[in-house]
């Protein structure tokens, strides 16, 4: 069992009469990536800002291991906010060193680390380049480096992949995974479900400020992500509704999706497909995190043991 570094209990925050976040609890463990997901306006950034002390939560507690006070010790936490930028007319190295200094990290070490990371992210030799000369993607890389320059124990990344091209997304993904493998506790919020699916260990899905789904990636998949069979071909929905283990049939043009029971045995089930079905393509897979997310966002009923 990995060690819990940060626990958030019953966090709540309101603006005027509107409750933005209500009764949110979760923990972030060393060496693990915890993803906080939810549609726009779900309360992700509010939760993160409350943890960072940028906002004052109305209720709940935030406990950092070995830190007697409420909240997090700033020098041990790296933070990449959703709304981020860099001073424009400053050299990359200067700004990274400034952020390291704010975290009380030794300058010499910071410089060596910055050079390493710039090289890793393909920005070698650009340490003296002014920020305004960088492309958006390059600036994002510089921001990322600035957030991890002081070897944080806890790294909080709010939408780290937004605005990145697929190649850079892969670079970030690998780096995040590697940091976790080296023992950093990571809390990440993102809309890119495919990327989250690949790197997250734990999940917290919130909607309208409340926890909807919580657990490890396996548990969530186990609970919510049943098999589904997608058939491309001109078929009537009624052709499949009576089949064993089929919970729900959705038809959209020539595409028919059959949501299956949790305890279905796929090799046996395949033989039940009617002979008269028109099949141009057929795939059997699990409902993805993306579909779970869309289900939550569109407020379709989630069934733990069924389709969406």
């Amino acid at each position: 069992m990995k060690q819990t570094l940060l626990s958030v209990e019953k966090l709540g925050k309101s603006y005027k009469d509107k409750q933005i976040v209500k009764n949110i609890s979760f923990s972030v463990k060393r060496g693990m990536v915890t993803a906080i997901l939810g549609p726009n306006g779900a309360g992700k950034s509010t939760t993160i800002r409350s943890m960072m002390g940028i906002m004052q939560p109305d209720e709940g507690s935030i406990q950092y291991q070995g830190y007697p006070e409420h909240g997090v010790p700033h020098e041990k936490v790296g933070y990449l906010p959703e709304e981020r930028g860099l001073y424009k007319n400053v050299k990359i190295m200067d700004i990274i060193l400034y952020f390291a200094d704010l975290k009380d990290y030794p300058k010499k070490k910071a410089k060596a680390r910055a050079l390493d990371y710039l090289k890793k992210f393909g920005l070698e030799g650009r340490d003296k380049v002014s920020v305004e000369e960088l492309s958006k993607g390059m600036a994002q890389k510089a921001q990322f480096i600035a957030s991890i320059i002081h070897e944080p124990e806890l790294l909080i990344l709010d939408e780290p992949f937004s605005g990145l091209d697929p190649v850079s997304q892969d670079v970030f993904k690998q780096e995040i995974r590697q940091l976790a493998d080296n023992g950093t506790a990571i809390l990440i919020s993102s809309h890119q479900m495919n990327l989250i699916e690949e790197i997250a260990d734990d999940l917290l899905l919130i909607h309208k400020g409340k926890t909807v789904i919580k657990g490890s990636m396996e548990e969530v998949k186990e609970q919510y992500s049943n098999y589904k069979c997608t058939i491309i071909g001109e078929n009537e929905a009624s052709l499949f509704t009576g089949l064993p283990f089929v919970q729900n049939v959705e038809r959209d043009g020539s595409k028919t999706v059959l949501y299956l029971d949790r305890d279905v045995h796929i090799p046996t089930w395949i033989s039940h497909i009617p002979n008269e079905s028109a099949i141009q393509e057929m795939t059997i897979d699990r409902t993805s995190l993306h579909e779970i997310f869309v289900g939550v966002a569109t407020e379709k009923n989630l069934k733990k043991s069924g389709g969406m």
Binding site: M52, P81, E83, R84, G85
Partner: protein
């Protein structure tokens, strides 16, 4: 506090190494010097050595030659080439109108009798010639008195003239301080006053950069990263201190040029002696209070503006506040103890400049009034910093729009 210093250091370094800042710091005194000296270079003022010499012929029939010559040679600013003529007056007179910068002065018995000196000049004469000519009155008058047979003592009495010494009745009866002050030359405090005003103007102008800095921080969305390491108040104070350092550096450079230059140009005023007096400390203290007031105002309201070009008149009005004291310049010069001056001393946005101006002009400082004004100013500074802190805290994280006065009011009350 450590974080405050880190921010201050960063803001200082970031701006001090900025090319436009360096250029403006160095260029300002150059432009100033240019404006100060360009006109005199073209016109050739009285005080500068006139490059053109004046040829002055003097017809001396009464034996004043030696006196006039001694007098002219004594005056450095006189660039006269003297020639005494006795016989060939006609030929000299005929040549004068044709030449440039020539004059013919005739000193005859009639001159001494009537007191009228005939002078004929060429069409062009040097700018300062007529002013210099007036000064010749002295040797001529001396001669006249001598002719009248006055004694040396009588001469002194006549030439001393009559002067009026005035003093206010109230000041005389005010007691101990008054007697000591009576010897002080009026205008002595103008030197530290001007010094403090320059400091005030320079640091308040740099303070206006804070507005931009806060607004930029918000626009470029750096604040949230910075605020994950410190409290908003630390960031705000760091900015205020950092820009204060910048302003002081700038004014040090300017005065580093300015004071030696002023000392050199105005040889007869012992500038350094006038400058380093205890009063200077109070004046500079007032200037610093003025800076703090405006810096807090700007940092607070800068945090409410993301796009300066689309900001409302409200924020524009705030930027105008430092220029408010200009309204009081006229009334203060007219009467530094008048009603307008007193009112200006108690309005926080005008009081730093108004107080310094008044202190520079008044021989006897109205200590009670100054004390009250200082208390009002210090309380205002404290309130403004509190207020700015509240506005800054919310404003800096409000992305995507400029705050309205209504919103700002709500934050202040929160």
């Amino acid at each position: 506090m450590r974080n405050t210093w880190k921010v201050a250091k960063w803001e200082y370094k970031r701006n001090a190494t900025n090319k436009s800042f360096i250029i403006s710091t160095l260029l300002t005194p150059v432009i100033f010097l240019l404006f100060a000296f360009l006109p005199s270079m073209f016109s050739g003022s009285e005080s500068s050595n006139d490059p053109e010499a004046m040829k002055v012929y003097i017809q001396d029939e009464v034996g004043l030659a030696s006196r006039v010559e001694a007098f002219v040679n004594n005056k450095e600013s006189f660039n006269w080439e003297l020639e005494f003529v006795e016989e060939n007056k006609e030929s000299v007179l005929s040549s004068v109108p044709e030449e440039e910068n020539q004059a013919f002065v005739s000193l005859t018995e009639d001159t001494i009798q009537n007191g009228v000196v005939e002078v004929e000049t060429s069409e062009e004469v040097t700018d300062s010639f007529f002013a210099q000519l007036q000064l010749l009155r002295q040797p001529i008058q001396d001669y006249q008195f001598k002719q009248l047979g006055l004694t040396e003592y009588q001469l002194q009495q006549i030439t001393a003239g009559v002067s009026f010494e005035t003093s206010e009745a109230a000041a005389a009866s005010s007691g101990v301080g008054g007697a000591d002050q009576s010897g002080a030359v009026k205008g002595e405090l103008i030197v530290p006053g001007i010094f403090a005003l320059i400091v005030l103007i320079a640091i308040v102008l740099t303070g206006m950069m804070i507005f931009q800095s806060a607004s930029q921080e918000k626009k470029e969305k750096v604040s949230e990263i910075v605020l994950s390491s410190m409290k908003p108040n630390e960031l705000m104070q760091g900015k205020i201190i950092g820009y204060f350092g910048l302003g002081i550096s700038q004014v040090t450079i300017w005065l580093g040029f300015g004071i030696p230059l002023a000392a050199w140009r105005m040889e007869d005023v012992p500038i350094l002696q006038y400058l380093f007096v205890p009063e200077l400390l109070i004046m500079v203290f007032i200037a610093i209070l003025g800076y703090l007031l405006f810096a807090a105002l700007f940092v607070g309201f800068g945090a409410t503006v993301e796009d300066i070009s689309s900001s409302s008149n409200f924020q524009g009005f705030i930027m105008m506040l430092p220029f408010l004291p200009f309204v009081f310049i006229g009334p203060i010069l007219n009467n530094p103890s008048g009603l307008a001056a007193t009112i200006g001393s108690f309005i926080p946005f005008t009081s730093p400049a108004v107080l310094i101006m008044r202190m520079a002009m008044l021989e006897d400082w109205p200590w009670l009034e100054i004390g009250f004004a200082l208390v009002v100013l210090m309380i205002s500074v404290w309130l403004m910093i509190k207020l700015a802190g509240k506005i800054f805290e919310v404003g800096i994280l409000l992305y995507g729009k400029n705050a309205t006065p209504k919103e700002i009011w709500k934050w202040v009350r929160a």
